[in-house]
């Protein structure tokens, strides 16, 4: 396989993994309105957990002086299952701490803080996940049996397959009454409660579903790259994901997928292919700047994203309805940060 083909397969792999992260964040933020500014932490949990499930115990790994917990030496798919399960358990603990009485804006701040605190902890406490360097030497599934090119193609296919299954399940959920409840929760939590639905249950369901995608994405990352360190889950990563979801269209599965594709593959990868006469170290910074500008332009010109959210369709719509096409375009859903006006919802306990 030529270098170009390796590159293309790698693009497919990362495209699928970024798509997974985008639909997971869309489930939490786009559908249910949870401002999870610590999404990348969930991805990291999936990656680390899969990593320590795959490699052998510290000292027996033939990797020198790495220090980490676990080391089960499990093969695929058990290492991936462990990674996803660990992410869901972690997300569950996070929700039971952070969701108590916290509304949108406070929850967002709490999650940012928890994310930063964990990053510092993992960086400095080297005996958990080997500190800043992180975990290395994670074997990919069937890597030893396959030729290099066959393994690359297998991983690309595996990532696409997992993305397809995950997206299909999310699509079914979002069209069901549960999906309607997610959107209702995003609009007004107290109102959802006043209709006899438990908002905490709905919110946790959306959060854990998003965590499953994060766990799968993290797991795929570590199995493909072979390692995972703190460089992979800096807070900025979450904001690029938010940008992708907003760009594509929050609250719509295909929007999140399109946003991830446009932002990561077209803008970020595309710009690195251009022959820009800049010092190589500057390119990432220029790219970040570019992401910010793209996001601003989208929020300005198309606040609901490239593929705006659908209005729910019901069979046998009334023929006399006034919801004509023109009106629907004229009135896109409220822009991204609409849920921040939650002062009216503050209750005194």
């Amino acid at each position: 396989m030529s270098n170009v083909n390796y590159y293309l397969v790698t693009l497919v792999f990362f495209g699928a993994v970024n798509g997974l992260q985008a639909i997971g964040l869309d489930m939490q933020f786009g559908q249910a309105g949870i401002f999870n500014f610590a999404y990348i932490v969930l991805v990291a949990v999936g990656a680390y957990a899969t990593g320590i499930a795959s490699i052998h115990p510290a000292g027996h790994s033939g990797l020198g002086a790495l220090t980490y917990i676990g080391g089960f030496g499990w093969a695929f798919p058990w290492n991936m299952l462990f990674g996803v399960l660990a992410t869901v358990v972690f997300a569950f603990i996070l929700t039971s701490i952070a969701f108590r009485r916290l509304r949108h804006d406070y929850l967002a701040l709490t999650l940012v803080t928890i994310g930063s605190a964990l990053l510092l902890l993992i960086t400095n406490q080297v005996n958990i996940f080997n500190g800043e360097t992180g975990i290395v030497g994670v074997p990919g599934p069937w890597q030893s049996q396959l030729s290099s090119s066959a393994w690359y193609i297998t991983m690309g296919g595996l990532a696409l397959f997992i993305l397809a299954v995950n997206a299909y399940i999310f699509w079914r959920i979002q069209r069901a009454p549960l999906g309607r409840l997610f959107k209702a929760l995003r609009e007004d939590e107290i109102l959802v409660a006043s209709l006899g639905k438990n908002p905490a249950r709905v919110k946790m369901t959306a959060f854990l579903l998003g965590a499953v995608s994060a766990g799968l994405a993290g797991s795929l990352f570590v199995l493909f790259i072979g390692g995972w360190g703190v460089g992979g889950w800096q807070p900025g990563e979450t904001f690029v994901l938010f940008a992708a979801v907003l760009l594509g269209g929050r609250g719509r599965l295909t929007g999140a997928l399109l946003g991830a594709f446009v932002l990561y593959e077209v803008f970020l990868q595309g710009s690195s292919l251009l022959n820009i006469p800049l010092a190589p170290g500057i390119l990432p910074a220029v790219q970040q700047l570019f992401v910010g500008i793209v996001l601003l332009v989208v929020l300005w010109l198309r606040p609901a994203g490239l593929l705006p959210e659908h209005k729910e369709k019901f069979p046998g719509a009334a023929a006399t309805s006034r919801g004509s096409k023109r009106r629907r375009i004229a009135r896109q859903p409220r822009p991204a940060l609409g849920n921040m006006n939650s002062a009216k919802e503050l209750s005194v306990e």
């Binding site: 009454p177 107290i190 409660a193 006043s194 009334a318 006034r322 409220r334």
Partner: protein
């Protein structure tokens, strides 16, 4: 909607309810009883604790003194969603709708014990079978409230009166036995007021117990079997509206000494 769907139950009993915010007493020692199927009105000047009382009964506030019973159940301190699922619902002073959802979706959200709200039934798609029944009911309620024309419009596109009607349609979707209405006529034009009044009358005819906070005395008089007057967190008088008009304490609390004529509109 046919009235025999709702059973004549839904009594509300409040005993010695007190609520204070950081030492400031909002409601103090309020007791009242709303027998099943009756219409009870609460009037009183701004800041007299009417909305706080409703918030405590409905479970928006869960820490307060005293006890609240709904039918035979002690619901003191129970959360809003639990009380709502028992069959006692509320509306809010400022109308609350899911603004970025269609009128029909707003009503469909409220379908009680809807299949497909759980994770597994949502994925399996087993909810589709029961959806048709909910949809028929939602459309008939929307029709009853004369909202069919705007069924697919976003809730944010409705007028003040239509918003109130949609709130009631959503309420009835859940087959309540008791409802708490917080100023249901706020923001409703005079034309729509008559429509809304007619609809609220039909609540009584359907046997639904109603506890309503309202400012406009002529509406309270027309709708309510019994009226409680609140001032400074207490119920200072209770009775038929026609009797309360003569009550000196009520007059001075509600309008000040010099405006008693205003009560005889």
């Amino acid at each position: 909607m046919s009235s025999n769907e709702v059973l004549p139950q839904g009594s509300i009993r409040v005993e010695n309810l007190s609520k204070s915010f950081g030492g400031v007493s909002a409601v103090s020692d309020v007791s009242l009883s709303v027998p099943a199927g009756t219409f009870y009105g609460i009037i009183g000047p701004n800041g007299s604790g009417k909305s706080t009382l409703l918030d405590c009964i409905s479970g928006v506030h869960t820490s307060y003194g005293g006890r609240v019973h709904f039918e035979d159940t002690d619901i003191s301190g129970m959360a809003l969603h639990k009380i709502a699922s028992l069959g006692m619902l509320r509306t809010f002073q400022v109308s609350r709708l899911f603004e970025n959802m269609s009128v029909l979706s707003n009503v469909m959200v409220a379908a009680p014990e809807q299949e497909g709200e759980g994770l597994f039934s949502a994925i399996s798609g087993s909810w589709r079978k029961s959806q048709a029944g909910h949809l028929t009911r939602a459309r008939s309620l929307i029709d009853h409230y004369e909202l069919t024309r705007v069924e697919e419009a976003y809730a944010s596109e409705l007028s003040g009166g239509q918003r109130r009607l949609l709130e009631l349609a959503r309420l009835l979707m859940m087959r309540p036995r008791a409802v708490l209405l917080d100023e249901p006529f706020a923001g409703v034009s005079p034309v729509n007021r008559a429509r809304l009044l007619k609809q609220l009358h039909s609540f009584s005819e359907a046997g639904i117990t109603v506890l309503m906070v309202e400012h406009r005395l002529e509406l309270v008089e027309e709708l309510c079997d019994k009226v409680g007057v609140m001032a400074e967190g207490k119920i200072i008088a209770e009775g038929a509206m026609s009797d309360l008009r003569q009550d000196r304490a009520v007059l001075s609390a509600y309008l000040g000494e010099f405006h008693k004529d205003a009560l005889r509109m």
